[in-house]
Symmetry: none
Subunit: 224 residues, 2 copies
DNA sequence: GGGGATTCTCAGGGGATTCACAGAAAGGGG
DNA sequence: CCCCTTTCTGTGAATCCCCTGAGAATCCCC
């Protein structure tokens, strides 16, 4: 996975997060470097900032396509920038996220891209299961046993993150960094709040699946 | 599928979108290359820009027909160009779309061409069904249960996109990218507006099939 | 060219969602 | 068993997202 962004702090953040997902990452700070790396290293996907110091992101894309016509590209773009121009280009199967983004979002989009790129091979599970709890990333349906559970957007993202890491303690900081936007400036106790919301919907009147590890964080695991 | 267009960004866009549909794609930038590719590679269909740098699209067509008399051709043409001349040419079973087009439209036309050409590739029936809702891509007829439903062009495209992805949440961005033209620069809330139109026609007084996932997008699924 | 259909913008309103704050509850160490 | 720390949760305000009516612009067919 090739990360192209001239803001090194952001590039580092992304590199770390994606490495944590088990992917092999390289980072480049400008278009020329990106093209060189793409040519030599042949990444499976590219994260491309559309604002680069040396050349337009779209120019980079064009030249990238000449080298690697099939590699999926995830654009990183400022909220109110040239969204219309991006929209056209991404329609072909690429995708984009607007800054500021959450890492969960980036990872989810990347998985989607890879799944689609490897269309035939990977038959896309897209359903996470922990005990009798299931979460479908496509339909965004969540159920525990027989019961449908309606979640808000943030609750869904949080639960997805937990279920991606079953039986593993996730600290509040980790959660905040992954589920909320990287420039979130609020109180850390939103995590507690949303854990509480989730418990009400998922664990209510049942054996609990979400557990607190005092001083460490939270984890989810099958009941019993 | 052979894509012939001298505008490389557009050719890339099309290649990606069609690859996503599971087709095998090659792109050429001029008439000479197109003919060479057609001769050697024998595509099942050709997307042909009528404005090419080296030769008239019509001349390309003529020579293409000598090589591959049966391959269907989808013309790409500017809005206010020589539409009448195209119209004459397409009488033979070919078809055309005017720029700017939406990807949904191109894909739909291509499927139509392949189906009519009797190519093995397109086994797909032309009728989409979700619950008691059916949409015929050929006749453009839509019915819910016993009731005929009259849709406008945009409503039809939107519903088709939804029905091709039943039980799957589609974001407003995704919808905008697929259903509207690639250079659409307007407000994102047209999607909301057209969803609202569709609901009035499809869900009116019945169990709703179109659902909103707040903060995520829309999906269609069988009622109940 | 005329008239109806269609597409799209704008803006208001309503309800859902997000989040801060603060007090209550629970855990843990001495 | 007490006290301090951490976590939980009720309340309410601000915000965001979505829906829809009205009307302007445009398209298309006759």
């Amino acid at each position: 996975m090739l990360v192209v962004d001239d803001e090194s702090s952001l590039a580092d953040l992304l590199s770390l997060a994606l490495r944590y997902e088990g992917w092999d990452i390289r980072a480049e700070g400008d278009g020329a470097g990106a093209l060189r790396c793409a040519r030599q290293w042949r990444p499976d996907a590219v994260l491309l900032d559309v604002m680069l110091p040396d050349m337009d992101g779209l120019a980079v894309l064009a030249r990238l396509r000449r080298e690697l016509p099939d590699v999926p590209v995830l654009f990183l773009t400022a909220k109110d920038s040239v969204e219309d121009r991006i929209a056209g280009l991404t329609a072909g199967g690429d995708d984009y996220v607007t800054k500021p983004f959450s890492l969960e979002e980036v990872v989810a989009r990347l998985r989607g891209l890879l799944r689609r790129a490897g269309a035939a091979a990977a038959k896309s599970a897209s359903v996470l299961t922990v005990g009798d709890l299931t979460l479908d990333e496509d339909s965004r349906e969540v159920r525990r046993g027989e019961d449908d559970i309606r979640l808000t957007a943030t609750e869904f993202e949080l639960l997805r993150y937990l279920m991606r890491n079953p039986r593993r303690v996730l600290s509040k900081t980790q959660i905040l960094d992954r589920v909320w936007s990287y420039d979130f400036g609020g109180q850390a106790n939103v995590v507690e709040l949303y854990i509480s919301y989730l418990r009400r919907k998922i664990d209510a009147g049942r054996e609990p699946m979400i557990h607190t590890r005092r001083g460490a964080g939270y984890l989810i695991k099958a009941a019993g």
